[in-house]
Symmetry: C2
């Protein structure tokens, strides 16, 4: 059973990399694509039109947060996430498992699911694969994720094996409980163990998921371990379905993953770092509060076409706003950073189409 009007087609291949088109009931999304994170049904500080202008056609919302507040009943009564947040394009929701694991208090795991206490009010909650599907159904996202167990980087091989096994059992329960209107992705675990990853990819690939994700990367391991594992692991994910690398990452991470054949990404990095005063550029991060920018009339990046750079906001002004705690700078840096990500993936798609991704990636990562 696949969701109606959901589809994925590859349109160009360059080595292991591919560009394609993901189709949902909301429209088409060129891949590889970056999904800005709208944790609480808002990409922090930005309007939907501003998010769209960065090139994004899909955002991620967090089931855990929306489950606790305002509650899925409110979102459902307001017509689902897209209507609620005035975002006309595709919404993907995670399962809530990652936050229940990392944010909640007194969490326990059993075959049934996670029992935890809300970080907001301490109330006791049970998150099962079925509940994760029910809540995501009420939230009305276009793509739902199965509940999975995501071990930290400190987990030993045995713990990772247990997480893989539990995730597989929950995969079947998630498919059985799915809302037919939503696409549903399975989540491959296995840490940095390539053999476990490949075996899990084959197991979940045998199930009727609409897409396959890699969870459990960027959970504290050295980035080089992920960079080494991706080219080994990604090809084991069914090439006919979209491949989503969860919670990753820096521009370097994204390029390495695209080279390995990943189609979808999400990460709080561009928006969170913006709110900490960090602008992302091809020449590295720029920390806007530094004294060196006190009288700097230049925009963040003279080559950038984002609203912040194009409208001539100077580093001197942005620094002033940041030090004076003015909200406007958080908006402008968030727009800039998401623009950089959108532009990076747009150029990567073009490079794949012309079979020049390796050259493009090298140039982007090592600007002259």
């Amino acid at each position: 059973m696949s969701a109606p009007s959901f589809g994925f087609r590859v349109v160009a291949v360059d080595g292991q990399a591919r560009s394609g088109v993901l189709t949902t009931r909301k429209g088409e999304i060129p891949t590889p694509t970056f999904m800005p994170v709208g944790t609480q049904a808002s990409v922090k500080t930005l309007t939907p039109a501003e998010v769209e202008a960065t090139g994004a056609r899909i955002v991620l919302a967090n089931t855990y947060h929306l489950w606790l507040r305002p509650g899925p009943d409110v979102v459902a009564q307001q017509g689902g996430l897209s209507a609620f947040m005035r975002w006309p394009h595709t919404v993907l929701t995670d399962s809530g498992g990652f936050q229940a694991y990392s944010l909640a208090e007194r969490r326990t795991l059993s075959d049934e699911g996670f029992v935890f206490r809300s970080h907001l009010d301490g109330s006791k909650r049970l998150l099962t694969p079925e509940e994760a599907m029910r809540v995501q159904g009420l939230l009305g996202s276009d793509i739902a994720m199965q509940l999975d167990v995501c071990p930290p980087a400190t987990a030993d091989r045995k713990e990772v094996e247990d997480a893989v096994a539990q995730t597989t059992r929950w995969a079947s329960r998630s498919l059985a409980a799915r809302d037919g209107a939503q696409a549903l992705f399975g989540i491959v675990q296995g840490g940095v163990h390539v053999d476990l990853r490949r075996r899990h990819a084959a197991e979940l690939g045998a199930l009727p998921f609409d897409g396959l994700a890699l969870g459990g990367f960027s959970v504290g391991e050295p980035p080089e371990q992920m960079h080494a594992a991706l080219p080994e692991v990604v090809p084991s994910l069914d090439p006919a379905r979209p491949r989503y690398l969860m919670g990753v990452g820096t521009p370097r991470d994204l390029l390495i993953a695209v080279l390995a054949g990943v189609d979808m990404f999400d990460c709080v990095l561009p928006t969170r770092n913006a709110r900490n005063g960090q602008a992302i550029t091809r020449r590295g991060a720029l920390s806007i509060k530094q004294a060196q920018y006190r009288n700097d009339a230049r925009p963040i990046d003279e080559e950038c076409g984002c609203p912040c750079c194009r409208n001539g906001y100077s580093r001197a002004y942005l620094r002033h706003l940041f030090i004076a705690r003015e909200i406007l700078v958080l908006r402008l840096l968030s727009q800039h950073n998401l623009w950089v990500y959108g532009d990076l993936l747009s150029r990567a798609r073009e490079a794949i189409a012309s079979r020049k991704l390796a050259v493009f990636a090298r140039e982007w990562l090592e600007p002259g």
Copy 2:
């Protein structure tokens, strides 16, 4: 001596009220007009384009704040306030006296000026009429204000008389120290004492100011006292020059002042109340965090044309954002409230042109 390209002409009169056009080196501003407050060279949460969309063609920036941070030298080096904040229209700066009086620590007043300590770093500062002009000259505003003494509502008549006398002495020193490129307004004090106000208006009216302001209203007195004083006081301000009521106020305050013949207003109310979750409507204030809006699919005001109401953001969504502390709601409510103010004054100008201001004011204040 008047500033180049500064001018004011009355285009329609309705009772004591008038509509007109204020001309500065940046362009024309239809009056009566509301000036959004950009304390630290930013109308909080909004871009210049968003402020412009509310109808504003002039904003106010605070000399005290910008003097202390980032410093007038930085703003001057970046080309002055309009260039610094990317606001292509007119900027008015206050003198810094009000904040030096109300915000700073260990403030003392002498004929020379205010000695105070910065609320940011405790540094000792001297604010004289000449220094206020020098700093405003560096900030590069189009309209500067003289340094004045603004007594609180608790001041007795003797204190108010002293403030009037000191303000008059500083008026002459301000004119002597002015930057010829800026327009300069004098400030009439006198509290709620109509005779003092009239005498001070005549004294300052005899000086070559480009405009005349009423300071010292809305400083803690009951609103009714200001409402009663305005029709008595405003006509004593030279009708050939723009009249500016400082730091006022609610929509009701504005309509009463326009009826009395005021041309310009500034107030933090619409933006500050927005950040506290309060939306202003013709039917009163709407506090968005209230539980009654949990599932309310309506916009704040179905008759409003602002981006928040027009784009269909529901009260339920806005409430969720406010409770979840999402910045987007502060933006949307700020836009809404400034839109209401801009719309109110636009309609007031039309009403004056058709000599129906009294009817319009009654209808606005008492909606059916």
